[in-house]
Symmetry: C2
Subunit: 232 residues, 2 copies
DNA sequence: CGACGATTTGAATAGGATCAATGGGAGTGG
DNA sequence: CCACTCCCATTGATCCTATTCAAATCGTCG
């Protein structure tokens, strides 16, 4: 892999604390690859051959069952996915495909587990990363079980707005079809949910969303740090 | 704590591989307590002071937001809960209350983190436990997003039936109100879902459920190892 | 410019929630 | 042991949210 990409990966909290030698050993067998949009990287049920790290672009985690399909999460730089399957040497529970042209680092599972055994510091970092992943899914699950579709959208907009600097405007980081599935609704229903939010200062113009009355929107959304905060 | 309870706790995979000295150190500060039914053990948002291990009875993990409440999981012996919050030294994301009279082991968070730092083997066991917890929530989330209420119930019944020895009959391990919330529906809707399943050989008699046509039920439920299997 | 996919809108339907009322056990106290 | 009470579960009726199906519109990319 190209050495110019290494510092970025190294800075990931997952690798931040580990020995140089361990990191080098891990990267020795890793390779960095660019994939076109809409390419299925992994399929649920397959053995976990690699740990994936998104360094550019965006990857969609999704699941299928009985002819249905649903977006489970979107992974943006720099984020890992399917760590749990790799550690357990189990099959993937989710499929993944690029949402856009993306650069992805692949580390063979065996090597991850190998270094995990050898490098204590890496093992600890993995625990933190795993705990974060776990808590993220719990929050997603709470979001879905405790809120209506409109509330989920409102809170997601507030969240994206914060991530993008609270300028009063935000750009959807992926298409509406995917956003709808992520929020657990149909594209039609998402469109209607946006209309429902118009009286609360939400202006939709393609991928650009204006938030003109955040107070009002928050009154409706009732954001909850135990669901919407990324850090806690 | 009583020493007669130790072997049971020790046999938990989380503690199985650790040194005697570490285990003793961990148990030194732990205490075992019996709680009556319907007692709230922890509240979401509170700092994670203890790691909890259910040794007898049953504990409900649930979440509240905006006046609503939903059951997130049921923990039966011998199972741990809120491990992630303890490791991260963060606040609990879920509340917990006893579903019945229950015996619970409490280990101060600091001690868990302390031994986690000192005992490498314990650290690795924790990773496995965390990975399992993570994958469980992912499966719950898939269940909710990819299935209808009736399908969720059908699959849950098949699962309980397997756990209880496939005798053709199963006993609900907690009341229907809780089951409904766990499955993401109202008690009324659960009752109707049971009626919907009657033509598929599902007979309800209080807490006892007879499954008289598993083939037919499975045709409806379409169980999926990537959602319903506890092990994978 | 034309075609295709994504989004939006409309209409009808279905699934689930809510409200209200009734039945049924389990536990309590006499 | 029995009556009472309370809470859970069930059933019915209605309402509401969200899905489905259909069609129009918008945008983008070749």
């Amino acid at each position: 892999m190209r050495s110019s990409d290494l510092p970025q990966v190294r800075s990931l909290s997952l690798f931040d604390d580990m020995d140089d030698s361990s990191f080098d050993a891990l990267m020795q067998t890793a390779y960095l690859q660019v994939f076109p949009a809409q390419l299925e990287l992994i399929t649920e049920g397959d053995p976990a051959d690699f740990l994936y790290i998104v360094t550019e672009g965006c990857v969609e985690l999704f699941a299928r069952s009985n002819g249905r399909e649903s977006t489970m999460a979107m992974v943006r730089p720099v984020g890992t996915f399917i760590l749990a399957a790799v550690l357990k040497d189990a099959v993937y529970l989710m499929s993944a495909r690029t949402a856009q042209r993306s650069k992805v680092l692949l580390i063979p599972s065996e090597n991850v587990r190998d270094i995990f055994q050898k490098d204590e510091q890496f093992a600890r970092s993995i625990v933190v990363e795993l705990a974060n992943c776990y808590r993220s899914v719990v929050k997603e699950h709470k979001d879905l079980k405790l809120r209506s579709a409109v509330e989920r959208l409102a809170n997601r907009l507030i969240r994206m707005h914060k991530q993008q600097g609270e300028s009063g405007t935000l750009t959807l980081p992926f298409d509406k079809r995917t956003l709808a599935s992520l929020l657990g609704m149909t594209p039609e229903n998402l469109s209607r949910a946006f209309n429902t939010l118009r009286p609360y200062g939400v202006d939709v113009d393609g991928m650009t969303i204006g938030l003109n009355d955040i107070k009002s929107l928050e009154t409706l959304a009732k954001p909850n740090v135990l669901i919407d905060d990324q850090l806690t």
